[in-house]
Amino acid sequence: MGGVDHVCGIAGIVQLDGAPASLHALRQMVAALRHRGPDAAGVAADGAAGLGHARLSILDPVGGRQPMTTRDGLLTVTFNGEIFNYIELREDLKARGHHFRTRSDTEVVLHAYRQYGERCVEHFNGQWALGIWDRARRRLFLSRDRMGIRPLYYTQLRRGFLFASEVKALLAHPELSCKLDPQGFNQVLTFWCPLAPATVFRGIGELPPGHNLVLEDGRVTVSRYWQLDYSDEAESLGLDACAERLLELLSDAARLRLRSDVPVGAYLSGGLDSSITTALIRSQTPRLKTFSVTFDDAEFDESRYQQQLVDHLGTDHAAVCCDAAQIARVFPEVIRHAERPLLRSAPAPLYLLSHLVRSSGLKVVLTGEGADEVLGGYDLFKEDKVRRFCAAQPDSAARTALFARLYPYMPNLQSQSAEYLRRFFRVRPDELGHRFHSHLPRWELTLQLKRLLSPEWSAELDRYDAEADLAATLPRRYDAWRPFCRAQFLETALLMPGYILSSQGDRMAMAHGVEGRFPFLDHRVVEFAATIPPRWKMRGLCEKFILKRAAGHLVPKSIVDRPKQPYRAPDAASFFDTHRKAARAPYVDELLSPDCIRAGGVFRPEAVELLEGKARAGRIIGTRDNMALLAVLSTQLLLKQFRRGEAGTASRAVQETRIAIQVPLGSRDLHAIPETNP
């Protein structure tokens, strides 16, 4: 912003043994991030420390150059993301005597750190992953935004410390190799994603959302600077004032997210949330471009609603139509970018969508992401409410019948007896007090994927307990919150950063150099929403009631009234043509073959054979089997790509880097020293 390019990746090295940081290794790390910023690479070194940055293009070469160093040479930053309130912060810092040379938010980060130290991040409204080298104190400071929008990974070597936007940049370092981490993998086979700081790569950590990391005197300290809290309720505000305040905050969040020196577009899913964010920016964006995913399969398609909104708002609209063959085709690339096993194919259409955005000449899109977590919109929250309602009167068939109503799009539920529904949905009065009540059915179902594991991995994973890992990270007051808030917390703190914002978010968008911005995830919106009483979030079984009340008037009535449809894509069906009884792509056959499964070592070849037989015959209809196929295929892809080092393609990338800048860390001069190719 303010001359700085939006799309980028960061990396850095700090040597702990007094040796100089290897510029060659740093360049290789940056090169592995070139999809995030293919046009320019900057590296800067100050003896033991080196910072690197890859960006897409240079709009303002002086203002936008990174890594950026203060005039006195004492602070250098490499920064990915946006500080949306940088204009206000800049004025504030100027009033405190700071002098600015550029109009960029990057420079604001540097001065804010100088003014406030590590607490500078508490002043930021934005989405960031950043590293600051504090030369005088010989200290590295890393920070990641509150919600986990921008990614940041790190690892400690024997004599050094590395960080980067993506794992593949760390793996590009010659001292690191790829090994599947049992704890992170165990979490995937429970929660659908790893729980930061764990990752699925052994020895590699993810800085959790809302955390800072300091490396000083060879010691790493990770500390939390922000936490979601549901302890207070805005009850006294009254429903209407509460709705008004929500809209006010949301409007301001959207306004700030239009700050950009390139045009901002919007994703339209056809649902309420993106309809509202798009409507909010429509008046401020004369020729607004909008983008959607459509499906040839009516089961997943929402184009009817997307079109209603396009007609209503008069946007310049484009859509990408997905079919099974396309999902199969791009899935290896999806895994290369997601860098973790996936139990869903849903990221794949978003990968195709960001390609469409990029081809349309846009780099920034607003989306409705986060609304379902922050305002309690997911079916899971309804399901938990109904499960509690049924457990209170376990013999009531009328109550149990609500489950079928809850999932009208699941035909297999419609004809089931009350007793079966009670068992499927785990209606158990004795479990009402369980701290993870809302998520037990999902996790128990997912755990069953472990039946596919080889004896070695099965034994290895038995040593870990994902629920205990999670329990260790819970806020002190978690158990005192209402059940609805506890469920919201689990979705917001676990699945949102671990899957929604990463595998469906940053990674799919950045694969094509597109940045997502999310008004619902402005921390002021999130903090206020946490105080809204649950009964205003979900009235009866009407989800996001307060949002409909606050902003329903901005969108067509048909959008407000439509039944909520979760975003899904065909899973197992994407990889097998059941008419021909054959895989849709040769890699599917190859990776599921007994030899390949045996070589991977993670799964049992006989189990995969049974699973594949079922998929080929079109007999995979349930969630568990769909997840099982995706889990095997994605893990096999991950092992193949990362063990062989295909993910980085570093050396070629370095040569293709067109513009390169090298600024010695601590240099008083911001002008570039042209980099020579190694």
Binding site: S415, S417, R423, F424, L445, L447, A607, V608, I621
Partner: protein, 86 residues
């Protein structure tokens, strides 16, 4: 009867457990043991109708008939006996 129990155990192990050796007793609830979910019941019904030449009425789709090996064996026997009588 043991035959049917053995066949059912094999079907369940291959189709739902992907061949994993899971220790479950003939009286254990298949849903409760995490072996069968809502789609699994449909798969099970299709298997019963295809394999044992019986037709299931909606009212028969209850755990007392289908949710353990013992219940299934008892149910299949009763259905077959009813067919034989009629």
């Amino acid at each position: 009867m043991d035959d049917i129990a053995q066949q059912l155990r094999q079907f369940i192990t291959e189709n739902f457990l992907f061949g994993a050796e899971a220790a479950f007793a003939d009286d254990d609830s298949l849903v409760g043991a995490g072996i069968i979910d809502s789609t699994g019941v449909l798969e099970l019904i299709a298997h019963l109708e295809g394999e044992y030449d019986i037709a299931l009425d909606d009212t028969e789709l209850v755990p007392e008939n289908l949710d353990s090996i013992s219940n299934l064996v008892r149910f299949i026997d009763a259905k077959r006996a009813a067919v034989a009588v009629s």
